[in-house]
C-alpha cells in the first residue's frame, strides 16, 4: 500500500478495498484534520464530524479524482472545504444570522495568529500566502476570510458589509489578482502567471 500513488489508491477504493482507504487516511489525515479544525474554529467535535464525512464521501460516493484537474491534495481540500461549509453553515442558519462588526473582526484575527506551535511541511507556501494577504486592504482581507474560511456566499457578505454585490464581486476579483501577482513574484515558478 505504501508504495502506491494516490491515484492507484483511489482506483482501489473504487473496488471497495478498505486498506487503500486506510492508507489514504494515514497520508492525509493530518492535512484534512488541521484544515477542518481551522474551519470549525477549534471545535474538536465538529472537526471529527467533518473528517468522518470527508472519508465517508471518499469511500461511498466514489468521487473520481482526475489528475488533470490538479493535485490530489487540492482536490481533497476542496471536498473538505465543501463538507465543512455544509456542516458549519447548517448549524449557523439554525441560529440567528451573524453580523460582524469591525471589532469582532480584529478579535478573530488575533485568535488566528495566537501562538499555535508551528510544524508545517508546507511552511514556505503558508508563509507566502500570509505575506501576500498582508498586501490586501483590510476590507479585501475580510472578504477573503469570510468567503474562504467562513464559507459565506458573496451575497451574504454584501449584506453583512452593507455594500452592493457588484462592489463585492469586484473586490474579490481585485483581491485574487493582487494575491496572485504577489505570490508569482515571490515564488517565481510556483504560481504560473497568466500573461
Amino acid at each position: 500500500m505504501k508504495s502506491k500513488t494516490d491515484e492507484e489508491l483511489v482506483a482501489l477504493i473504487l473496488q471497495n478495498h478498505r486498506p487503500a482507504l486506510e492508507e489514504l487516511y494515514d497520508r492525509y489525515v493530518k492535512l484534512v484534520y488541521s484544515f477542518s479544525l481551522k474551519m470549525a474554529k477549534g471545535d474538536s467535535e465538529k472537526t471529527k464530524e467533518i473528517v468522518q464525512q470527508v472519508f465517508l464521501r471518499l469511500w461511498t460516493t466514489k468521487q473520481t479524482y482526475n489528475p488533470s484537474q490538479g493535485k490530489f491534495v487540492n482536490w481533497l481540500l476542496t471536498i473538505t472545504r465543501n463538507i465543512a461549509i455544509d456542516i458549519i453553515r447548517k448549524e449557523q442558519k439554525e441560529h440567528v444570522n451573524i453580523q460582524l462588526d469591525p471589532q469582532e473582526w480584529h478579535q478573530m484575527q488575533d485568535q488566528k495568529t495566537e501562538g499555535v506551535p508551528e510544524q508545517v511541511s508546507n511552511n514556505l507556501l503558508k508563509q507566502q500566502i500570509r505575506e501576500a494577504k498582508q498586501n490586501l486592504s483590510e476590507s479585501q482581507q475580510r472578504l477573503i476570510h469570510l468567503l474562504y474560511w467562513e464559507g459565506y456566499t458573496l451575497s451574504e457578505i454584501a449584506e453583512m458589509e452593507r455594500t452592493p454585490l457588484g462592489t463585492i464581486k469586484n473586490r474579490l476579483h481585485q483581491s485574487l489578482k493582487k494575491l496572485r501577482n504577489y505570490m508569482s513574484e515571490e515564488l517565481g515558478g510556483v504560481v504560473r502567471h497568466g500573461k
Binding site: 478498505r18 482507504l21 486506510e22 487516511y25 494515514d26 489525515v29 493530518k30 492535512l31 484534520y33 488541521s34 484544515f35 479544525l37 481551522k38 474538536s44 471529527k48 473528517v51 468522518q52 472519508f55 465517508l56 469511500w59 461511498t60 490538479g70 487540492n74 481540500l77 476542496t78 472545504r81 439554525e94 499555535v116 506551535p117 508551528e118 510544524q119 508545517v120 511541511s121 508546507n122 507556501l125 503558508k126 500566502i129 500570509r130 494577504k133 477573503i144 468567503l147 474562504y148 456566499t153 458573496l154 464581486k169 474579490l172 476579483h173 485574487l176 489578482k177 494575491l179 496572485r180 505570490m183 508569482s184 504560481v191 504560473r192 502567471h193 497568466g194 500573461k195
Partner: protein, 248 residues
C-alpha cells in the same frame, strides 16, 4: 462578452449556478482574456487552503472515522440480525439527524405518507370512474369542423365536433364572438345534406358572445356542412333569417 468576463471570479470560487457555469464555460472557450486568467487565479484561490497550522491528530480519530464509515455500511447494507439492525438504525439516525432536523423529517414524512394515502384514494376513485365510463361508452372525436362568421356575425368563429359515444353520434358546436341576440331572436343550427336542411337546435350566446350547443344525431344520419342563421323566433323548420355562419 464583457459581461461574462465579470463571472470569472465567481467561476473560480464555484459560486455560479449550474446554468451560469455552463454559460461561462462556453464563454471561456472563446475569450482569450479569461483563458489567460483562469488557471493562475484558480491556483491562487486553492493556495488559500495552505493558510492553516498543522495540528496533532488525536490517536483515536482513525477508529472513529473507520467505525463510522464501516458501521454505516453494515447497518445500511447487511444488518446481521433484527436487534442489531434496530440499534444500528438508531445509531444511524442519531448520527444523521439533530433533534430539530429529526422533527422536521418526521413532519415531512407524515406529510408524505398523508399525500401518498390521499393519492392512492384518488387513484382508486379515478380508476372506479374510468371503469364506469369504460363499461358504458368510450368517447371519441370522429370529425372536426371550422366555422366562420359572415354578414352581421363576421367576427364570430367556432368549432364543431362530431363525437362518437358508443353507438350514438353527438354534434358539439362551440361558438365565440357571437353578436348578442334581441328579443325572440335565436341562432339556429342547420345540417346540410344534398341541398336539404335539417334543424339541429337553437341557441342564444352568453354576454361574452360564447355559445355552445349539442345535438344527438338520429341513427344513420349524415351531413356535409353546417350552417347557422339568425332567426327572428325559435322553432322554425326552414330558415327564415340570414345565414351568419358556416363551415369553411
Amino acid at each position: 462578452m464583457e459581461n461574462k468576463c465579470e463571472n470569472l471570479s465567481l467561476y473560480i470560487i464555484d459560486e455560479l449556478s449550474e446554468h451560469e457555469k455552463a454559460q461561462f464555460e462556453q464563454h471561456l472557450k472563446i475569450c482569450i482574456h479569461c483563458q489567460k486568467e483562469v488557471q493562475s487565479l484558480k491556483e491562487t484561490w486553492e493556495m488559500l487552503s495552505y493558510d492553516f497550522e498543522e495540528q496533532d491528530v488525536p490517536a483515536s480519530l482513525k477508529d472513529d472515522v473507520m467505525n463510522f464509515i464501516f458501521q454505516e455500511q453494515e447497518t445500511t447494507i447487511q444488518p446481521p440480525d433484527e436487534t442489531a439492525k434496530k440499534d444500528g438504525l438508531k445509531l444511524f439516525f442519531t448520527k444523521q439527524f439533530s433533534p430539530l432536523s429529526a422533527g422536521i423529517a418526521a413532519v415531512l414524512l407524515m406529510g408524505v405518507i398523508g399525500l401518498l394515502w390521499s393519492n392512492l384514494q384518488l387513484r382508486d376513485n379515478m380508476a372506479a370512474l374510468e371503469n364506469k365510463v369504460e363499461s358504458t361508452t368510450t368517447t371519441e372525436i370522429v370529425r372536426t369542423f371550422n366555422l366562420s362568421g359572415q354578414n352581421t356575425a363576421a367576427s364570430a368563429s367556432g368549432n364543431a365536433y362530431l363525437v362518437q359515444e358508443g353507438s350514438s353520434t353527438v354534434l358539439v358546436i362551440e361558438l365565440n364572438n357571437m353578436p348578442s341576440t334581441e328579443n325572440e331572436e335565436v341562432y339556429q343550427v342547420w345540417l346540410l345534406k344534398n341541398g336539404k336542411r335539417q334543424s339541429a337546435g337553437t341557441l342564444k350566446p352568453d354576454l361574452n358572445g360564447n355559445g355552445l350547443i349539442t345535438y344527438r344525431l338520429p341513427k344513420n344520419h349524415s351531413f356535409d356542412d353546417i350552417g347557422i342563421t339568425l332567426e327572428p323566433n325559435p322553432n322554425n323548420t326552414q330558415p327564415q333569417g340570414q345565414k351568419v355562419m358556416g363551415t369553411t
